[in-house]
Amino acid sequence: MLETQQAFLKQINENKGIIHKVSKMYMDNAVDQEDLFQEIVMQLWKAFPSFKSTSKFSTWMYRVALNTAIIFFKKDNRKIDKAPLNEQIEIADINDSHEKEEKLTYLYKAVQELNQIEKALIFLFLENQSHREIAQNLGITEVNARVKLNRTKEKLQQIIKKNGYEF
């Protein structure tokens, strides 16, 4: 048992960036992000016995992490803060001068207005997955994945534009 636990923790720590990104994608505040992070870790641990070493650990992890995030909900059903993005980011990242990081901060904020499946599509796309891989992970056809992804990209672009930012 202890050996399995150590092996699991080793694998998780090597790939924890995936969980961190999924958490930030699905939750809009630090407390919920931390809760989702822990929930994913816990679900991965519970599902670990079903992991077959014939597949890649990270591939299996993407699935479990996304499947957990898709059904995870906020504790008190707080609404998404719809205040203009530029105001919030000026306050939150007053010292953040890096354009790239600012861009990602805007992205994380904008994706909060997408639904659970749209978030998954954008996440897998940003993780450099092909249409085929996205389709396999979500359980839809490749054509449908392509259509849905394009639609979600447009929607995301509109949200970012609406919030007064462009990239």
């Binding site: 961190h20 679900q43 992970n137 979500l138 259509v147």
Partner: protein, 203 residues
């Protein structure tokens, strides 16, 4: 101007994530925050309550001082109740164990859980109806055994329509309580899952 998603993808890949080390303490359940977790938690509680109520029911003849005839009849009904409950919990346990495997693709995973959950709720409702009617039947038989004469006299006086009306109202009340309880306990979780399934199936 169109958004440059390729550039965004590069920025995303090059963004170094600072994340805390995953430790052993993180492998323990704290608060249930997914519909699956909440349903598991609720079902686990109900399982415990069913066990406790079965134990209490097993002691009923002693507590209520049943005669040996009545006790034998009672245990016949009680064993049928135990049989149905055991079947339900076997089904639930299989579902509970399987529900930790989230490694299917998202659609399959959501559909599997949604329909398994629906089946379990229907089984749960069926179990409640069956157990209620078994106990009601026992109640009627117990009345015949213990108060046979009075009951026969009473039935002669009461019109058949009145008896049927009472039976219908009893069935209605049992149905109403069962349906409301199932809806209150599991309805919102199923609704939440259905919304996600619809968005994944949307063309």
């Amino acid at each position: 101007m169109a958004m440059n998603f390729d550039q965004l993808k590069n920025d995303w890949s090059n963004n170094e994530v600072v994340s805390t080390e995953v430790s052993e303490s993180m492998l323990k359940i704290k608060d249930a925050r997914t519909p699956i977790d909440q349903i598991r938690k609720k079902m686990k509680h109900e399982f415990l309550w069913q066990i406790i109520s079965l134990l209490v029911m097993a002691l009923a003849p002693k507590i209520l001082g049943f005669s040996s005839n009545l006790s034998s009849t009672y245990f016949l009904f009680f064993s049928i109740v135990c049989g149905f409950t055991a079947y339900y919990f076997f089904k639930f346990y299989t579902f509970y164990k399987h529900s930790y495997d989230l490694s299917l693709d998202s659609r399959k995973n959501l559909l599997w859980f949604y329909y398994e959950m629906k089946i379990n709720i229907e089984l749960y409702k069926a179990l409640t109806y069956i157990v209620s009617f078994i106990y009601l039947s026992f109640g009627a038989i117990a009345l015949f055994i213990t108060r046979g004469n009075i009951l026969v006299k009473l039935l002669e006086k009461i019109p058949l329509t009145y008896i049927l009306l009472n039976a219908a109202i009893t069935v209605l009340i049992i149905g109403l309580i069962t349906e409301s309880w199932a809806k209150y306990s599991y309805g919102k979780h199923l609704k939440r899952l259905k919304v996600i399934i619809e968005s994944i199936d949307e063309e």
